[in-house]
């Protein structure tokens, strides 16, 4: 199994790269291939099992767009073929139609995801995030663990609760309800006018949620490893500790007295 990490020298903010370290801990056989800005991407030569990109700076977004622009058609083909992508934080904006700051277009994106990223220059939108992921038909809810139970300890295909953090300069705008990744219960969604958060196009998963998303969401991670990466029965690394922290956080975030925006 090969996991390509795009531009870790710049796409590394907010602990996002811990997602890769966690996948490696869960899947010790996985080979992590780091692609730098000036390298030819692995996906240009072969099909990785997962392409990951994390949050970057605003300048980093421009550099990443320019680095990927020559491979835009290859990326389009890879998405169409069902290659797995995981984009966290503002990495998804690189794949968007455009990036707009204070009403002025800063860059044309790769036009692989049909939305416009609009941001403020000096405004931070911070929130906790609580949402839901509904696994597609035919996939068990949490991905079964070695003991045949799903992560929440329940059976069946119930929606998975998602917890995390959003801290962004802006939002994504587009008619994307049919490609929604998560349904938002509390916290900032894709933008203030909608309830969905993130995009799923084929096997491309994008969420604005930052940081160690996979570590914070063991039920989703188990599902992702089983049903997206095809490694069923994989035991998550530090599963007990991760579940304990997850359930504590879920309880906190479900408490109506917990403030959500900062």
């Amino acid at each position: 199994m090969k996991i390509e990490v795009l531009f870790p020298e710049i796409c590394n903010l907010y602990g996002d790269l811990a997602n890769v370290r966690y996948l490696k801990a869960c899947l010790p056989e996985a080979e992590i291939v780091e692609t730098s800005l000036k390298d030819e991407p692995l996906f240009a030569r072969e099909r990785p099992d997962l392409i990951y990109m994390g949050t970057t700076t605003e300048r980093g977004q421009l550099l990443a767009i320019e680095a990927l622009r020559p491979y835009r058609e290859m990326l389009e083909a890879a998405i169409e073929e069902g290659v797995n992508f995981l984009l966290t934080g503002n990495a998804g904006e690189i794949f968007a139609r455009e990036i707009v700051e204070e009403g002025e277009k800063v860059a044309d994106g790769l036009c692989l995801l049909d939305f416009s990223a609009r941001r403020k220059a000096r405004k931070r939108y911070n929130s906790l995030y609580l949402g839901e992921f509904i696994p597609p038909e035919g996939a068990s809810a949490a991905g079964e663990n070695a003991a045949g139970e799903n992560a929440a300890g329940a059976s069946g295909s119930e929606p998975l609760k998602i917890v995390g953090f959003k801290t962004v300069f802006g939002f994504g705008y587009g008619d994307l309800a049919d490609q929604a990744l998560f349904t938002t219960e509390r916290g900032y969604a894709m933008n203030p006018d909608v309830k969905y958060e993130g995009i799923r196009r084929g096997n491309l998963f994008f969420t604005y949620i930052i940081g160690p998303f996979l570590i914070l969401n063991p039920p989703f991670t188990r599902w992702f490893i089983a049903h997206v990466l095809g490694k069923t029965g994989t035991e998550l690394a530090y599963e007990e500790a991760a579940m304990d922290a997850y359930l504590t956080r879920l309880k906190e975030y479900s408490d109506p007295n917990t403030g959500f925006t900062y």
Partner: protein, 460 residues
């Protein structure tokens, strides 16, 4: 009318100080809030000292600021400062309220102000420092500060054109700020602990700011702090005007070379790399203020690092060490971890850097834990790590990710119960790593550790 409003603001703010004293409230920001509420351009209107020195950056600005104030004090000069208040515009306003007489006259010729880097848009238009010292720009609160490039952009956009900059030349992010401003650089030539490859999780300057090629570091202290060049376009770290060399951590001295080739030896106040930089920064600042090398060396003999940030108490076989480790700040935490883990002898740690304010109002964003080098704590001589407080389970998970075995991790739900989880087996240094809003709690924990040591001693 404008002036009348200013005086009303000043008097109301001064009255609020008296009211706070009578009611025994702390409110270090409150008088400034009152002043700015009544007179929004209070900071513009208030008289400024002839010499204003600003100190900003991500880590260590409080320490550098305190050192600068103490240097002046040792030299017999009282300076207007905000060491008792906050470093944002309301705290600065409070300092000016205190430093201004009831008729608007100023009591000081010099100000040394710690200035929050993120608040530059609110402070720099009104208070234009003659000198601004920037000791570093690194990751800080994700929610507030985003990333260092963002802060560098804000500082560059807001920098008063006449402000002279004193920059850490070993920080290519800080040294890039406001390129049109007059500037001097300070740095450290080399240290025995230098590396070339980054051993930290975070390195915020891996690519050349000019051509985006991967940079090569010839010396690296930590993260992106060090000396680098670009093999593609020739970009390189600036030459320092004040450069530390031959740091002697036994004698606690450092030589500082200047551009004219002169070299002078100064006292170090602490052996951490952070604090070596702080001393070099202070020497550079006072040299730029036309102090002689000899006088600076004399003054450095008379000052110490404020104990609220690092304090040691010995109790028999044990030393209780309070080590501030800024919460929500991955780099500051990594530095603290690196320092603590590198000390000789057996250690036990209490990790209580939870942001208590966040815990009260919402729930702390813990992403920074995954930028911080918890891996440094995976060392044999760290015998026990007590995780505690609202985010204890997150700390536990992070320690597991760092490869630390369960046998070396203890859990206490509340901070005050953490001392009971210490092993206290033989000669041990006990470190309490605490955040910026848990100073009082840290002192309480330290007191309980003392009790624990005494009680277990009596039982034995």
């Amino acid at each position: 009318m404008k002036r009348l409003r200013f005086y009303l603001a000043l008097w109301a703010a001064k009255l609020s100080i008296i009211a706070l004293k009578i009611t025994r409230h702390n409110g270090t920001n409150f008088p400034g809030i009152v002043a700015l509420k009544i007179c929004p351009d209070f900071l513009w209107q208030v008289k400024k000292p002839a010499r204003v020195i600003g100190i900003t950056g991500t880590n260590g600005k409080t320490t550098v600021c305190n050192l600068a104030i103490d240097m002046f004090k040792a030299d017999g000069i009282a300076v207007l400062n905000n060491s008792l208040g906050s470093n944002i515009h309301t705290g600065l306003a409070t300092s000016f309220v205190l430093g201004t007489g009831i008729f608007g006259g100023l009591k000081y010729d010099t100000a040394v102000l710690e200035m929050d880097e993120r608040s530059a848009p609110l402070t720099f238009p009104a208070i234009k420092p003659d000198w601004l010292l920037i000791n570093n720009l690194t990751r800080d609160s994700i929610m507030r500060n985003g990333h260092p490039e963002y802060i560098a952009r804000i500082l560059t956009e807001e920098m008063p054109s006449a402000t002279k900059l004193l920059l850490n030349g070993d920080d290519l992010i800080a040294s890039s700020i406001a390129p049109d401003n007059e500037r001097k650089y300070f740095g450290i030539k080399s240290l025995d602990t230098d590396v070339t490859d980054c051993i930290n999780l975070v390195n915020d300057l891996r690519i050349c700011p000019r051509c985006s090629s991967l940079l090569k570091y010839t010396q690296r202290r930590y993260h992106h702090i060090g000396k680098a060049y670009c093999p593609t376009c020739g970009f390189k770290s600036p030459q320092c005007d004040y450069e530390g060399q031959n740091a002697d951590l036994e004698q606690m001295t450092i030589e500082i070379a200047e551009r004219d080739g002169s070299v002078f030896c100064y006292r170090l106040l602490n052996d951490s790399v952070f604090n070596i930089y702080n001393v070099v920064a202070i020497v550079a600042l006072f040299r730029e203020l036309c102090y002689s090398r000899e006088r600076i060396a004399e003054l450095l003999q008379k000052i110490e690092i404020v104990k609220s940030r690092f304090d040691v108490k010995e109790l028999g076989d044990f030393r209780i060490i309070k080590q501030m480790s800024k919460d929500r700040n991955s780099l500051g935490t990594s530095r603290a971890f690196d320092y603590v883990s590198g000390r000789p002898g057996d250690k036990e740690l209490i990790l209580m850097m939870n942001n208590l304010s966040d815990s009260r109002h919402w729930s702390e964003n813990v992403c920074w834990l995954y930028d911080a080098d918890f891996e440094f704590l995976n060392r044999e001589n760290i015998k026990n790590i007590v995780v505690t407080g609202p985010r204890a389970k997150d700390y536990y998970l992070r320690l597991k990710m760092a490869g630390i075995d369960d046998s070396r991790i203890s859990f206490a739900e509340h901070e005050l119960d953490a001392p009971g989880k210490l092993k206290l087996a033989g000669k041990t240094d006990i470190y309490i790593l605490y955040g910026t809003d848990s100073i009082t709690l840290c002192n309480q924990v330290a007191a309980r550790i003392e009790n624990e040591i005494r009680e277990r001693g009596e039982r034995a």
